[in-house]
Symmetry: C2
Subunit: 414 residues, 2 copies
């Protein structure tokens, strides 16, 4: 029988991908995450809140109340802008934290704050546009903006958050479409921008007519004192800054990621265009999830829930900080977190120890502990000595055991 296929041209694939996919690569972190299924592993790698702390009973009651109150509305198509009772609750939630003067119509509900980032990209970024982000910053922001063709510039971060002098120079040099910041308990840096720097960022925005995007999923997760007010709250003190400011909020870290409830506050023109883009992205966020979240907030359970998770995360953070100091000593340096989910650390290379986060991550998996190397969080000029360690989902004993294994891995990584 003749093999007609031999020598024949390979048939053309019917799938021809868009050019924008050339701008993103498969993340090294995803490869690492595939190893996390190994039995017995202690994972500091996630960016998740602890599911064991979810207020399941409160969410159950809220879901039942949502179906009882307006079953049609909770299960029907809804406005792209969001379910009005939730928009009202979210405005009140922000007002309670000092961001007064945000009307329910000044925000739209998004499918997690990830969608707020996507809508910002879709609405604002043309291929080749420059965007300033912190170095390091949230990985999914980097990839999200790159898919829209952004050219990313990084502003360095220290213990007080983004370096505003550097930011001023970079804005003047690059005239970016926007500046993206996580000012409070940043991911992955854990850093919190001082109040003074926050004011300077807002003043700089007004002076240079630059749009600032504040991503604030962690601000409620402080351990002792509340952090400085959000840029959104502070904007009341800096005339003209509100029209230069976008704010992304989320219930994912404080209530439940599975509801996928985030929100976007933006100047009217941008909010209208983001709403149009959302209409063609997913029509609207789940009304069932929105109505559930609205009932939960209206029931007044959030303050107690926040108090509970803050106390537990504070204990876990303290346990990790102590264990890292006791076990790794001079081999590692970090600023103890004041809130959020992460310790951001740097290998010092002291005494000839390993100073490469990627190498250590491999050794650590072999020892039964996982974390995320820091390099992929840099849009440019990665620092290979960095690591991100989450303490959020591991109890204190397991944190100490995990750090002990990390010490063994470090010894093995000579």
């Amino acid at each position: 029988m003749t093999n007609f296929a031999a020598g024949a041209a390979q048939p053309t694939s019917p799938v021809r991908l868009a050019d924008r996919l050339n701008n993103v690569e498969t993340s090294a972190i995803r490869e690492l995450f595939k190893l996390l299924g190994k039995p017995g592993i202690i994972s500091f790698a996630g960016g998740f809140p602890d599911a064991a702390l979810f207020d399941v009973e409160g969410i159950r009651e809220a879901a039942l109340a949502a179906l009882a109150a307006h079953p049609g509305a909770a299960l029907q198509y809804g406005a792209t802008e969001g379910f009005d009772p939730l928009r009202e609750q979210l405005a009140a939630f922000m007002a309670a934290k000092g961001a007064t003067g945000v009307a329910p119509t000044d925000l739209i509900v998004t499918t997690g704050s990830q969608q707020a980032l996507d809508l910002i990209g879709k609405t604002l970024i043309s291929p080749g546009d420059k965007v300033i982000v912190e170095g390091p910053t949230f990985l999914a922001t980097i990839q999200c903006f790159k898919l829209y063709g952004a050219e990313l510039i990084t502003v360095p971060v220290d213990g007080q958050g983004a370096d505003v002098d550097a930011l001023e120079r970079l804005i003047a040099e690059h005239r970016p479409k926007l500046v993206y910041l996580i000012p409070t308990f940043g991911n992955p840096s854990g850093a919190t921008m001082s109040r003074e720097r926050r004011r300077r960022v807002l003043e700089l925005a007004v002076q240079t007519r630059t749009l600032i995007v504040e991503d604030d999923p962690y601000g409620d997760l402080y351990f002792d004192a509340a952090p400085p007010q959000s840029l959104l709250a502070l904007s009341a003190e800096v005339p003209g800054s509100r029209e230069c400011l976008v704010h992304c909020g989320s219930l994912s870290k404080v209530l439940s990621p599975g509801l996928r409830i985030g929100w976007l506050v933006a100047p009217p023109l941008l909010l209208a265009k983001a709403t149009m883009c959302k209409q063609f992205s997913d029509a609207h966020t789940s009304t069932f999830a929105q109505a559930t979240a609205a009932q939960y907030l209206a029931a007044g359970r959030m303050p107690a829930t926040l108090a509970r998770v803050r106390a537990i995360y504070a204990q876990r953070a303290a346990a990790m900080v102590q264990a890292l100091r006791d076990t790794l000593g001079a081999a590692i340096t970090f600023a103890p977190p004041q809130g959020g989910l992460f310790v951001w650390a740097r290998l010092t290379g002291a005494n000839g120890r390993c100073a490469d986060g990627g190498v250590l991550a491999q050794r650590a998996i072999e020892q039964g502990v996982a974390f995320v190397p820091g390099a992929p969080f840099f849009a440019r000029d990665p620092d290979p000595a960095t690591l991100r360690l989450s303490f959020a989902t591991v109890d204190e004993d397991r944190i100490r055991e995990g750090v002990r294994r990390l010490g063994v891995a470090l010894a093995a990584a000579q």
Copy 2:
């Protein structure tokens, strides 16, 4: 006091929009929808299922079961591909309709099928790429693809669905990135493609290496006999066609739009890239909604729910068909729908009556009845004589009264 602002340049807006927004305009339909709040109006304008028919009790039980079974999983972050128990149920749901051989891993869950369209656009369409759609087709598909820069070509539709001879010529001429079809109870056309044409579409896809996107939100809503099998089911009979086929499914029209549960079946490369794009679009679809839908499907309630809504929509469709014939007679022509939510009609202009859907829509609002003019559903060469009338959310008496008002409006539109 000197007015320093006088003569000063207007400050630059900090919001500078992306070029892609130039490709879409605010829809005329949205302006019309603003008028629907008028008291007493009978609306044939929506594209919604009837909220009064939702199985609220079944969804409540499913939500409780989801929270009882795996509260952590239902409220935590989930895989971008979707919640595995739901992927299994959706594969079984499709298999029961003849689309066998679709493994749970051959699909990803999307935030409504609107997101499936968005991911198709994001993954495949570069600015200037040609895409063939039916004329008329779903408005949000037109806008969604245009945002990614698609140049849309329209293939005409008759009572048997898209004209496949014309499609063959258009594929040869334009070499499109993809062809988007709603083969069953199309929106807005109501048309259903014959089995013979479906086979020819699949053969054409294989011969020309063209990607076909089948959007199938209405296929379960048939009135008497089931429609011809979906392209996805038929692909088993046409060798090589499965790798040229994308299928979008949705629970919105058959269970609840508010859950925002859709799904995307696609060849492996495309599915992987769509998953990556989804990761940066909304991370994943609400796990709470997914777990609820999975429990609902597993409980076996869908067949009874479908039987109930089919019977009611069939009665409403029959009432509208009869009323249109009795009241408007020769002034209107249409094919009675065999399923779905819509009557797609054309004003004939007989006896000098109004033959402009947009003009009639204005007069109709004045008479207390609303529908959507058909012209905006055409990506090119709009037919101004067309109208879309939904019978889904109005009971039979109100349908007759609404059509009576339409008759008055037509008389007034001379």
